[in-house]
Each structure stands twice: as structure tokens, then as C-alpha cells.
């Protein structure tokens, strides 16, 4: 969907499991973008698919830019997304 690649979904999950911060995971995704463009919608899609977000939990990514020019800096995006990833993880684990 929207051009996501399964191996990059796997990468997002594996980096999260390894304890990498969301901002680090976002930069890892961008490193795989051959054009160098920052397509935030694609980043949102990767996080949504990787963590099974269904209520816009990844939307803060729209406010982030890798060069720090976004309204949300690395610390802010890390705090927002870490909470949301943890919440989803609890739901998934509870349901399992």
C-alpha cells in the first residue's frame, strides 16, 4: 500500500525491538530512499503498518523533518511515538 516495501516494515520492527528511537528509525528509512526526498506520508505509512496503527498514531511524523526544521524535533517525536508504540504493543500482547 502506498509503495511500502515488506523488508522495510521488517526493518522498522527490528530496529524498535533493538531499542532504537523513533527518530533513528525514521532516518534509517530515509537512508533507503534513493531519491533523497523526504516523503513524510510514506514514513507515516511505514510506522502505521509496522505497528498496526489505526487511529493516526503516526501522524506526528508529519510535523518532523530530518534536518530539524519541522515543528517537532527529535526529542518530541521520540516521546510522542514511543508512547504510542508502547500502547499498541500492550494491546497486541494483551490480545495474544
Amino acid at each position: 500500500m502506498l509503495g511500502t516495501q515488506p523488508d522495510l516494515i521488517t526493518l522498522v520492527r527490528s530496529l524498535d525491538r533493538a531499542g532504537r528511537r523513533p527518530s533513528e528509525i525514521l532516518r534509517a528509512l530515509l537512508a533507503h530512499e534513493p531519491t533523497g526526498e523526504v516523503d513524510r506520508n510514506l514514513l507515516v505509512q511505514y510506522f502505521s503498518e509496522a505497528f498496526k496503527f489505526t487511529d493516526g498514531e503516526a501522524y506526528p511524523i508529519f510535523g518532523w523533518q530530518p534536518d530539524g526544521t519541522g515543528e517537532l524535533n527529535d526529542d518530541a517525536i521520540d516521546e510522542l511515538l514511543t508512547k504510542r508504540i508502547q500502547r499498541t504493543r500492550i494491546v497486541v500482547e494483551t490480545a495474544a
Binding site: M1, D55, G56, P60, L72, A76
Partner: protein
């Protein structure tokens, strides 16, 4: 499949679907400004319309935000999707700024301030005029996230 014709005065508005819209997800971007003029809209599992829209630079030539929202809305309605509310999930941007400006010194509650946002204007035009505050973080005037739903 292409989006509906853009407003004629918007000479820099050239909308396209990067992926075919579905009953759950709709994405349109301006080919001329693909990373700064677009909408992503979806319907959540509980039937809430949720979107993020951007239109920069603000030169009056790109695809208007309200036009993008209305097209996304029309897509879901025409797809037969039942929409129970319109979500606002704000962690930055103009809607959160409005909330913080208006709640400073407890001048308004979040629910009151939410009725002054750009998002409320969009929602009220579709008949969703009441506000339910789902979650918030921060203090009046300094919220870092606000989640609301506009209901009929």
C-alpha cells in the same frame, strides 16, 4: 482514476492519486508540490474520519486544504462508508496553536477552543458540531497533544 477538477484559480494545483483510494484510506497529492500539498485521510475502526492536510507555500496557488478535505469526505461517503465522527489529533500545527492560544490562563476549555479551530470549520460544515475531548497532554496554553472528535 483522477481527483475532481481543482478550483480554476489555483494554477499550481495538479492533483493525483499515488495509490488508488480504498474504503479505508485516501491519499491525494499535488504533483507540483508533492511533499507540501497533500491530504491523507482515513476512516478509523470506530468510523471516525481522520485526516492530515497540508497546503504550503501559502501563495493561494496550490490545492486548497478545504477542497482536499471535501474531496476526501466525498470519496468515503460515495463509497458507502458510515462516518460517526471527525477526529482531530493534534501534536503541532495550526489547530494545536489555536487550542493553546485560547486556553492560555484558562480563558477557555479545550472543548470550547476546539470550536474555534480550522478543523472545526471543516467538521461543522458537514454537520459535526459537538466536541468530545478524548485526550490531552500538557497544561492550558501549553498542550503538546490534543485529541478530539467532532460528533453530529
Amino acid at each position: 482514476m483522477t481527483p475532481s477538477n481543482p478550483p480554476p484559480t489555483r494554477s499550481e494545483c495538479d492533483p493525483e492519486f499515488p495509490a488508488l483510494p480504498t474504503a479505508k484510506l485516501y491519499f491525494v497529492r499535488n504533483k507540483k508540490r508533492p511533499f507540501t500539498n497533500f491530504i491523507r485521510a482515513e476512516v478509523t475502526p470506530v468510523g471516525y474520519f481522520l485526516y492530515h492536510v497540508e497546503n504550503t507555500p501559502s501563495d493561494g496557488l496550490g490545492c486548497p486544504g478545504s477542497w482536499l478535505v471535501n474531496n476526501a469526505w466525498a470519496h468515503f461517503v460515495q463509497s458507502g462508508v458510515s462516518i460517526n465522527g471527525i477526529r482531530g489529533s493534534w501534536t503541532y500545527g495550526t489547530n494545536l496553536k489555536t487550542i493553546n492560544d485560547l486556553t492560555r490562563n484558562n480563558a477557555m476549555t479545550i472543548a470550547e477552543a476546539a470550536t474555534r479551530t480550522w478543523a472545526f470549520n471543516q467538521a461543522s460544515g458537514k454537520g459535526f458540531t459537538s466536541v468530545d475531548v478524548l485526550d490531552s497532554h500538557g497544561t492550558p496554553g501549553n498542550y503538546t497533544s490534543v485529541d478530539v472528535v467532532f460528533l453530529p
